[in-house]
């Protein structure tokens, strides 16, 4: 799952600053070929070589899924993060070559739904932009409720409202506007699916409210990408490979394994897909789990998701 054949070689054709935080990047295939089509909600990993560090961060594709001529992503600058978004904002320029992973969708529309109710917070708008384009061409009913801090930070709100005035609703924090969630979730026709993408707090709010109102879990979809968080360096013994490696402050456990040539599986690198799940053989210390994948009973020293989670303590042995 990690060879060069899995990469799309692209060239940056546009870098558009949308507001203080968000910049859009557009890519075309470096060989002039069409890019693979994708489904609304898909993301791609963007490979960033920043000095001797290689990062692979997931970004939602927000161009038209049926248009293979180019891809677009929108990147929110995160100065406190490990530098992936800062690298894109500061270093990547039009004309640069980048490698992308193939599109992967962990936030797909349920095509059996009669109606799609979309709830977005901040940069969480991006997967919906592509989903709305998909529904436009295949003809599905949708309704978007989009919360942002200010009008200026409501990325793409104007374009969405211009295209779909009756279906797009905007709520601005600085105007004290709030999504009327309970009312929304109570008044939907049967067969409606709800989708939420945004900050953790918003996702929890929607999940809890939907649950309390009796929504079936299979009709509730969410996505939150977790950028790996920086943290204290730690040491790991890899039992299968027989290596002991150090994970630095600004790299993830998965990145450290890759740096040491350990072939570890991965897919989303954001704690959502489960592909990199790894068994813990022994430990003495505390886990900092940041994933959405593991069951509660696995978090207590049984398993770890190396793409986003960390460890603090004297000894950690993994089955890898």
């Amino acid at each position: 799952m990690s060879t060069d054949l899995d990469r799309l070689h692209v060239v940056v054709t546009a870098k558009v600053k949308l507001n203080d935080l968000v910049t859009r990047f557009e890519f075309v295939h470096a060989g002039g070929k069409p890019l693979p089509p994708f489904s609304g909600g898909a993301h791609a990993l963007v490979e960033m070589r920043d000095g001797d560090v290689t990062r692979l961060n997931p970004y939602s594709l927000m161009s038209d899924p049926l248009d293979p001529s180019h891809y677009a992503i929108s990147v929110r600058r995160d100065d406190a993060g490990r530098g992936g978004s800062v690298f894109l904002h500061d270093k990547v320029q039009v004309g640069d070559r980048l490698n992308l992973g193939y599109p992967v969708n962990l936030f797909a529309l349920d095509l059996t739904a009669r109606k799609h109710l979309m709830i977005a917070g901040g940069i969480g708008i991006t997967p919906f932009v592509a989903q709305i384009k998909q529904l436009q061409s295949t003809g599905g009913a949708f309704e978007l409720h989009y919360a942002a801090r200010t009008q200026a930070l409501a990325t793409y709100a104007d374009a969405l409202r211009a295209a779909h005035p009756a279906r797009v609703n905007l709520y601005l924090d600085d105007q004290n506007q709030q999504i009327p969630l309970e009312r929304l979730l109570s008044g939907q026709p049967p067969g409606t699916h709800v989708y939420v993408c945004g900050p953790r707090g918003m996702i929890d709010w929607v999940l809890t409210t939907a649950h309390a109102l009796g929504w079936p879990p299979e009709a509730v979809h969410f996505e939150e990408f977790l950028a790996p968080q920086p943290g204290m360096p730690f040491t790991v013994e890899l039992a299968q490979t027989g290596k002991t490696i150090c994970v630095g402050e600004h790299e993830s456990l998965l990145e450290a394994m890759e740096r040491e040539g350990v072939d570890a599986p991965y897919l989303c690198r954001g704690g959502a897909c489960g592909q990199c799940e790894t068994r813990v053989l022994a430990h003495d210390g505390t886990f900092h789990h940041h994933d959405h994948w593991l069951e509660e009973h696995d978090r207590n020293g049984r398993k770890i998701m190396p793409c986003v989670s960390r460890f603090e303590g004297t000894r950690l042995v993994l089955d890898r």
Binding site: F38, P65, L66, Y102, P103, A108, T112, E218, C273, G274
Partner: protein, 355 residues
Amino acid sequence: MTIQFNDETFRDDYTFRNSDWAIRRFPFPFHEDSYMYSVNMERHRGGPEGSVYAKRFDVDEHYISEMRDRALVLAEDPLRCQSLPHMTLAGWDLLELIMVNKSEDYPDLFELDRDGNKWRWINKPLSIDDSFIFMDEASLPYGPMEYITRQTQGDFAVLDQRENNLWMDAGMVTTQADWSLDFDIGMNFFEWHAPVPLAHEMGVFKRALKFLLNVQQGNPARRLNWTMTVNPLLDTSPENYHKWGVQKTTLTPENLGRKQHLRVELQTFYRLPRSNALVFPIRCYLIALEDLVTIPKWGRRLHRVIRDLPVELATYKGFIDNRPLILDYLSQFDDGLPTSPGVWPDLDSEPPLRR
């Protein structure tokens, strides 16, 4: 090489034959002298030149006759091809996948010209030359899935992915080993696998599903499955069991080598881009035991596998009653010599049969 297409039947007079070329490239499924269910999946990224793994959709000498047989099955029973309403987008994805791959892999047989959404598809072996609008169903004689799978060997299950499961919401199934699309339509991965013995308890399906949910665009996977079929029948469906079930009682020591076939399915898995569905092509290859044993290694090994196969599997696969007869026949081709590891014939290195 250019393929010489056979003119043959898979019913009535059964004129189906494998050429020497087809025998040597047969996808023999046993890499060792015994067999048990496992999560036997690997990437589908080519294989030795000329092998059935080399191309993404293998075309062989049986192509034209297999497509003729499919048309006969569909004429009698249109429910062999079904697509629930939300699966049309996946049908277009599948049509594109097959047309692009076949025209790239077999440029002398298939041509695809694309100008935006105006497409022209030329299928020389079947004398088809159609122009149509991509994503416009009215521009094709059938729905997109049916159109392209009437021109592609193998069955197709098209699975919708939702609720962390796969749902059999569309398919073209005319060459199946005793299961029914009409029965399974709308079922999920665990429901349609319910009849399989032992594998559930072994955790095979849980792990297999986890793998499948993560099959990604640009990174297809494959596995082999196998069973035994009396007479070279493609359509061994429950719907027609009354026609083929009785043929299992016609085996004799004299006709067994000719009538008993090993049936191998090359199953592949592709993520479909626009719909995020998964397509599961199930390509059936048949070989008469008398042809199979011309490869000494395969003769030795098949005898040992069939002899030691757990009763549950031989029963599920439907040959428990004939197993003694089959073993009598195969034992003539097992001289007890060791076999080399792996599935390949190894004709140059494996010794001929010692009598």
